[in-house]
Amino acid sequence: MTSPAFLAPHGLAALHAAAAAAGLCVASSASWPETDADGEVTPLAGFIESTFSPLIAEVAQRALRRRDQHSTPGTVTAIVLITALGDVTSAASVAAAVDAGRRVPPLQFFQSVPNAVAGYLAARWHLTGPVVCVSGTSAGLVLAATLIDDADADEALVVRADLAVTDGEIDRAAALVVTGPDRDRPGTPRA
């Protein structure tokens, strides 16, 4: 079994490397788990059964809190979620209910796409930039750079989250707040 202490920094390192390759500056970062205290992720009101959305919310808010000192009022922040398989726990729960002829809980509908937790973060932190979900780390950071280059956003919250697939693995997530190389701010002219 691979240790949590190895997995989380590895995910964060991959995000940092992709950010650098995309020409982005990192304003703050976070991961899950970061310390031995990161046992079970805190549940998120309105999201049930799966740790997928709570995990994203936790690492995202860690990164956002750490970047607050650098943030400027009026900053437009995009959200880029990266996940290879998405919320497989919720998908499996829904599939099991459907196959057994059981009722699907209505809350499962509202968390059936990764956008929902992005909307939670956007509302709570007033992140008014685009919301995008993609499957690859490199694509996600290149996309963030494009959004910043084209003034769709001043900065981007980029989160990678992957639930454990097999026994012995753990859920893992990492987040960055990234800016353009010149830390653009609203109204800054740029060629």
């Binding site: 998405g86 998908a91 829904v94 699907v104 796409v113 909307g119 697939v165 097999t166």
Partner: protein
């Protein structure tokens, strides 16, 4: 607020200087395979909704969708459609091999039922790689978009942004969703499906959305690339905009401020005034909250032009195609504008004072707009606006 200037607070949208064109399109929907079937279907004004026979719906509140006959396979349908779009664009094998695939797709229902160790091989990237391989597209630079109902429109905007900045010459953008039992059960549980079996966007008495099969693909490239290989553009991808509401995990901003910013950004990139738009293919989900929000967005972003530009939501005809919506609806927009008959906003029962727009009602509207816009919105408050210009 109805002043268009009131939403122009974000920084002006930027873009690269290159012109972006569409040179190939292909689609499949409940109206059948091919863009001709899609165009004929939406221009007929007859909705494609029918009782679902693909899987058991006896335990559901609603049992209606716009589905192709039988049980088509998503991988096969996307592969066929991408191949047809490449053929439509006249791409050679060598040109295909340099055209990366951006694919908008929902999670594969098979993942949820597969042994855990087998799940990675069933993810979106595996499906995209299979499609790319089947169509002669490169295995590198594949992107998969899973942003719900703005997945495909976001992929189109990304492709346009990259091409405009000269970072790509050509991208094949595709989206696919086929009505299946898990999403159907979820939407039914969420009580958002129309229990009267019709989608009635912007209408009094609207009762929700209905799902629909949708597969679409576009070849998007730089004008220089198209010229160099003497490929006639179907349309120019003139502008694109994206935004977030920052309002709620799944409900739209009631005032439509987020979508208004996307519309404004798309017009800025296209260099257009609101009155230049000759048609809007609305998101128009037919739900209680979304339609007034979208109306508010159009009033904010377009000002007085919101009362005059023709608007229809073709979800009233082909249904809600989830991740594929953006590409299927842009294809509808493009084909309708080119052929001079704007699709009707079907299912309309009467005016809702919160949805006062110049809807295309009764039958299609004969018009040849030079510029048209396609709008999409999704959970998470995600919004997109795409503007095409006819060559």
């Amino acid at each position: 607020m109805t002043d268009a200037a009131a939403v122009a607070t974000p920084p002006a949208a930027r873009r690269g200087s290159g012109s972006v064109v569409v040179t190939g399109a292909a689609a499949a929907s409940a109206y059948g395979r091919g863009t001709r079937a899609l165009l004929a279907g939406v221009q007929s004004g007859v909705p494609a909704f029918a009782p679902v026979s693909r899987f058991d719906v006896s335990a559901r509140r609603v049992g209606v969708a716009a589905a192709m006959s039988g049980s088509p396979d998503l991988r096969a349908e996307v592969t066929r459609t991408v191949g047809e779009a490449c053929d439509d664009a006249g791409l050679s094998s060598a040109e295909r091999a340099r055209s990366p695939l951006f694919l908008a797709i929902h999670g594969n229902p098979a993942i949820a039922r597969a042994p855990e160790a087998d799940r990675p091989a069933l993810g979106p990237e595996a499906l995209a790689a299979s499609v790319a391989d089947g169509c002669g597209l490169p295995g590198e630079e594949i992107r998969c978009y899973t942003s719900a109902c703005v997945a495909a429109s976001t992929a189109i905007a990304d492709a346009a942004a990259l091409i405009a900045r000269g970072r790509a010459d050509r991208v094949v953008v595709a989206g696919g969703y086929l009505v299946e039992r898990d999403q159907f059960a979820l939407f039914d549980a969420g009580r958002v499906l129309a229990d009267d079996g019709r989608v009635r966007p912007f209408s009094a008495g609207r009762r929700g959305l209905l799902l629909g099969d949708g597969v679409g693909a576009l070849v998007i490239e730089s004008q220089e690339s198209a010229r160099a290989r003497r490929a006639p553009p179907l349309a120019r991808l003139a502008g694109w905009g994206r935004s977030g509401d920052a309002y709620h995990p799944c409900q739209p901003d009631p005032e439509g401020r987020g979508m208004a910013r996307a519309v404004t950004a798309a017009l800025q990139r296209a260099g257009l005034a609101p009155a230049d738009l000759g048609y809007i293919n609305a998101h128009g989900s037919g739900t209680g909250q979304s339609d007034p929000s979208e109306t508010g967005a159009l009033r904010l972003a377009l000002g007085d032009a919101a009362a005059t530009v023709p608007v229809s939501s073709t979800k009233s005809l082909h249904g809600q195609c989830l991740e594929a919506s953006g590409v299927l609806e842009l294809i509808v927009t493009l084909l309708a504008a080119r052929t001079g008959l704007l699709p009707v906003n079907a299912g309309f029962l009467g005016a809702d004072e919160r949805c006062q727009l110049n809807l295309v009602l009764g039958e299609g509207l004969a018009a040849t707009p030079q510029f048209a816009m396609s709008l999409n919105a999704a959970f998470g408050g995600a919004n997109t606006a795409l503007v095409i210009g006819l060559p």
